[in-house]
């Protein structure tokens, strides 16, 4: 069986400045992978290259054995890819439920429908409430995004991606800015993501993130420095070098 994600010698520069220096990486189906690295290591750039928000300069990106590096972001979404954003990227004027509806529409043919009113597709509204229930936000379904708390927006970020029923989910700092209680709840939510979904996560909070991940990749200046299990990463002197600058 082919890997969920396979990157081969992926490169990207911004105006001559290399941001991704030939990254090769393999994530198996069902795996939980954590990507760490200091600021500016290229973690979010890596995500943007995988989703197609940025075009790669060279190298290959394979999703479940299919080369996708020439596909547009929405075409990659149709191949089972979903992501969340480090900076909250929701539809602020709309209700939580409508946010989820937009997510549900993305992969359905009915998104091209121009005559029947959206409000009359009751099954979609129903499913959106179902998704919100799963992440514990059902009681806020009618509220506009602008009126809910930061922690709730973070949860909705993940709910949007989960509503797509992805095969590969990229989480970009899902714990950023959360209080300790909220972190515990978020950890629980991520822990409950079914095993059919492969998860790749960027996170700075090691205490929480290390528990969720099976394998860890350390990124530095756009290159993979170390890759391995938790114990291997901690034991490797290169990790310390990257983080402490010895």
């Amino acid at each position: 069986m082919s890997s969920a994600l396979e990157l081969g010698d992926l490169r990207k520069s911004f105006g001559g400045l290399p941001a991704m220096n030939g990254v090769s990486l393999r994530v198996e189906a069902g795996e939980r992978r954590l990507i760490i690295g200091p600021n500016g290591a290229g973690k979010t750039t890596l995500f943007n290259l995988i989703t197609g928000d940025l075009e790669r300069d060279s190298g290959s990106i394979r999703l479940f054995g299919h080369e996708v590096s020439r596909l547009k972001p929405h075409q990659r979404a149709h191949r089972g890819l979903a992501r969340t954003y480090q900076i909250i990227t929701l539809f602020p004027k709309d209700s939580l439920q409508h946010n989820i509806v937009l997510s549900l529409l993305g992969l359905r043919r009915m998104r091209w429908g121009t005559f029947k009113a959206l409000a009359r597709y009751t099954e979609v509204e129903e499913e959106a409430r179902e998704v919100l229930k799963r992440v514990g936000l059902e009681h806020l379904s009618r509220r506009p995004i602008a009126e809910v708390a930061y922690g709730e927006k973070r949860r909705l970020e993940i709910a949007m991606a989960l509503a797509q029923k992805p095969k590969l989910l990229l989480l970009d700092e899902p714990l950023a800015g959360l209080s300790r209680e909220e972190r515990a709840a978020m950890k629980d939510l991520i822990g409950r993501i079914p095993r059919e979904v492969t998860v790749v996560m960027i996170e700075h909070d090691m205490d929480t993130a290390l528990d969720l991940a099976e394998r860890i990749t350390v990124l530095h200046y756009g290159s993979v420095i170390v890759e391995g299990t938790r114990a291997e990463i901690i034991a490797d002197p290169k990790t310390r070098e990257v983080y402490l600058g010895d």
């Binding site: 929405h74 979903a82 929701l90 539809f91 937009l102 121009t114 797509q164």
Partner: protein, 312 residues
Amino acid sequence: MKWARWALLAVALAAFPWIAGEYYINLTSQIFIAATFAASLNLLVGYGGLPSLGHASWLGLAAYLSAWMSLKLGLGHALTAPAALLGTTLVACAFGWISLRATGLGFLMITLALSQVLWGTAYRWVSVTDGDNGLRGLTRPAPFGISLDGATSFYYFALAVTVVAITLMAMFVASPFGAALRGTRDQPRRMSALGHDVWTVRWITFVYSAFWGAVSGLLFVYYNKYIHPASLSITSSAEALLGVIAGGSGTLAGPIVGAAIIMLLKNYVSAYIERWNMLMGFVFVLIVIFMPEGVVPGVRRLYLRLRKWRTG
């Protein structure tokens, strides 16, 4: 309650020619045409977040195509109307493809440039357009044998077309596609990550908006029985954009109210004040100061505040 208000509006519009004089009937017909035109632009500006300064292209092109086919080819209205709509829509397919290489200011400039090309062509291609003289001697159609030459019959014709146009545009906005369109306005990156084809959504909207612009162009040329390059000018595009913004972009009633304000200022006030353009500018400054979101959302906000204040 809601349908009672609609019924009242319908009765008022239907009864209007019975109580008003010819001048006001004609003025209202022109408001209908301007409202359809502004509403079509609103799909792009208000719901798609794509400000265009070239929307006059669609009104002007449809009007010119229809006029040219009937004058120079001698074709009847039953043929020229669908042909003009089709031709305009096809040109919009190409213009949209070019303009949507950019968004925001870039999009605004490309739409402006392309419409200037059409405007210049209308001025210079004298053998086809009669240049600055415009195309004259046109007739109004007579659907089902009913002559539209009278003010009242044309009023009902324009009203019917406008109601159909606005209803179909309202349905478009309320549909899943309309929701996706608003999504591409607010968060295009997230939309593509969710599987929405942002470019195609915008392009379809561009073409659809141009189609209704073309419909208003037909009404325009039927009403005036004359078409001049000025209808393709940036002034004509800007007027519609002002109407959308003044009335309230991204609302259904906004462009209708905005178009009505402009038409009233242009036709009614200009009869009394020569410098009506100055007055129009003044009115817009007032709108921007007191209701920056537009008249329709602004009045709604003031009404809600008043009600709150009354109930304590």
